[in-house]
């Protein structure tokens, strides 16, 4: 799993790639929790996620909940088919805000 962050006009874009599994999700959780304290809009680019399990989904849910408590924006973008399948199994595809592209997620 690789986690890369960049700033795009005041929005933090997190490029998540590879396998987001029990071995790696603690690192994702730590990164997301730190970003949530910045209280800036966050977009997770999930186009290169090849696999995600319940521990990876849990990290996203935790960040989403923290963003909501802070009235912040937390958006998933360009979700890869394998990741979307897992979100659908968890019935979270209707809970998260999901944008078709990173650009669409950044637009107000």
């Amino acid at each position: 799993m690789i986690v890369e962050t960049r700033d795009v006009d005041g929005t933090t874009v997190v490029l998540l790639s590879g396998d987001v599994d029990l071995q790696h999700s603690p690192r994702l959780r730590k990164t997301l929790m730190e970003l949530m304290f910045d209280r800036r809009p966050v977009v997770i680019d999930m186009s290169a996620v090849s696999y995600i399990d319940s521990s990876g989904i849990a990290s996203l849910v935790e960040a989403y909940q923290m963003a909501r408590r802070n009235s912040g924006r937390f958006t998933l973008a360009s979700v890869s088919p394998p990741a979307l399948r897992v979100l659908q199994l968890a019935r979270l595809d209707k809970v998260f805000t999901i944008a078709p592209t990173v650009e669409a997620a950044i637009l107000p």
Partner: protein
């Protein structure tokens, strides 16, 4: 069951990718559609995570992964050597509450058609059998 996969792995998070790869290759070899392969890989991964976290509690141990076909059913057996688990405590959480955690068992139950703890072989602690119907061929 004629085992198409019968392998033993250390029950550690860093070995899960290797298990996923073996399960995917085996399910593909058995003729499963790509979507079924992905789902079964997730179910097996989540079940192995449960063994790592709730049976071994993070301590050292092994997981034996067996896969095979029985009358159009893909059968997966996971054998561990931890103390027997309290099956009554294993249940999926309701999905109407959005919170982290507790999704693994839900994934397993959503994907697989049958899940059962069977009497383990001598010397083992638990035997979890999961079955996915994949077709009518032998």
């Amino acid at each position: 069951m004629n085992a198409a996969l019968d392998a033993r792995y250390p029950a550690r998070p860093e070995r899960l990718q290797e298990i996923r790869r073996a399960v995917a290759e085996t399910a593909g070899r058995m003729g499963c559609a790509d979507s079924v392969v992905s789902d079964v890989v997730l179910a097996v991964d989540e079940a192995c995570q449960n063994i790592i976290r709730h049976a071994y509690h993070g301590s050292d141990g092994d997981i034996v992964v067996q896969m095979g076909r029985e009358s159009g059913r893909l059968v997966v057996r996971l054998i561990d050597f931890a103390p027997p688990v309290d099956v009554a405590k294993i249940c999926p959480r309701a999905l109407d509450e959005v919170r982290p955690g507790g999704l693994g068992t839900h994934f397993i139950r959503s994907i697989m058609d049958e899940i059962a703890f069977l009497p383990p072989p001598a010397g083992a602690g638990n035997l979890l059998q999961m079955v996915k119907r994949i077709g009518s061929e032998p």
